[in-house]
Symmetry: C2
Subunit: 245 residues, 2 copies
């Protein structure tokens, strides 16, 4: 049995997210499994590093699958490139040890959130960047970001409803860079809860607009109540950048 | 009578180009004139620095129009932003002297052509960059570009059919920059004939693929025969960058 690891780039705009939902076809997982099934004649089950929500993009999503097929790696890659829609590309493919697991073995995840901070939106990035027309104060955003660094209970910053699962995660760094009207927020952590990146970014935006203070964010973190935190920033600005094993 | 100058950004993907064609609505000029007509109650005629072909994009197209309307500049801008489709944005607006003419007074034009030179296409730039999968030799492309610098008869490098009009133009510079898989070609000249930028880029690509030599390009230039030059590079990689007055 072979274990094959894929590095996948996708434009999430027209998909309901990574995870296959019943018979529905408009998910990234569904599209790739279909092509692999047609190629190998086997039922393929892709294991990804994690789900991405509807509309979220990926530069380097990682997924693996097991197969008995003897088709050459290069042929799998070429076939996928030919038959996948143009908004999903398998960039590379490697045969890995049988116990490699994309989700369980992921050590760090890096997400990028893009904001366009100009009066009018930019036509070329309008599908890949969140347009905030009011001037954002970057220095305050950077200060607010430090609150999230380290090991914390992110219960106030997730849409996760389960009461059983741990909401403790560690964020290693949040880097905010501004170039002209483009702002990029890079978040590096050992894992992120459901919608956690987008709720943190929503909070940083409120801080940058000076609608919430540093002290208020600290208080929200301590109260562990999602209803207190800011709105979730929209999906189209979010990119899964890298998974580190 | 006021003369108003517009700086316009557009994603040309879904349009038949700048120029209005009879009753057809799917042109950039047609879209903007319609919104200005609704706002002012006047028949507005936009004069652009030049036409862009179907599928070609613009960062800073310049156009002007005359109006008797007394509506404030800021209100015109806000109204256009609200009612234009999201792939056309009027970035700024200025009142100019009555004799300002976007086309006649243009001194220099800068175009950018973008190429993605990776084995597989990039999903995020696929609509804004021409994908060339075979490795391009940038040094040869740079050498080939020098042939076009200066004042030349570009008859071999235009789709222009008229025999009466001059096909002599001057190109001041062609800068080719490669960063990872992205190649940008910036062309700066006093004017460009119909499809001239895309035929020159098509020729530079053939040179980069080593399918045509420097000597052959020089010969094609001398023979003044369009049928000898390379194919026209596709529209979706081309951006009108700047007009200098």
């Amino acid at each position: 049995m072979r274990n094959i690891k894929l590095t996948i780039q996708y434009d999430g705009s027209r998909y309901k997210g990574w995870q296959k939902l019943g018979n529905e076809d408009n998910t990234i997982q569904g599209k790739i499994e279909k092509v692999l099934r047609e190629l190998t004649g086997e039922e393929i089950e892709l294991i990804a590093s994690g789900r991405t929500d509807a509309g979220v993009h990926a530069y380097n999503q990682i997924a693996n699958f097991h197969t008995n097929s003897k088709i050459l790696n290069k042929e799998i890659l070429t076939y996928c490139y030919k038959y996948l829609p143009s908004d999903i590309v398998i960039k590379s493919l490697q045969e890995v040890a049988n116990d490699f697991h994309s989700r369980y073995l992921a050590k760090k995840k890096i997400y990028i959130y893009k904001i366009y901070n100009g009066t009018f939106h930019d036509v070329f990035s309008r599908k890949y960047s969140y347009h905030v027309p009011e001037q954002l104060n970057i220095e305050i955003m950077k200060k607010a970001a430090t609150i999230f660094i380290g090991k914390h209970d992110f219960k106030s910053f997730t849409a996760l409803k389960s009461k059983k699962k741990s909401t403790i995660r560690e964020i290693y760094s949040i880097d905010i860079v501004k170039k002209d009207n483009d702002i990029q927020i890079a978040l590096n952590g050992n894992g992120f809860l459901h919608k956690m990146v987008r709720i943190i970014v929503g909070t940083l935006i409120q801080a940058g607009l000076e609608k919430i203070t540093i002290e208020e964010i600290i208080e929200i973190m301590h109260k562990k109540d999602r209803s207190l935190a800011s709105d979730t920033a929209p999906a189209h600005g979010l990119f899964l950048k890298e998974i580190i094993y």
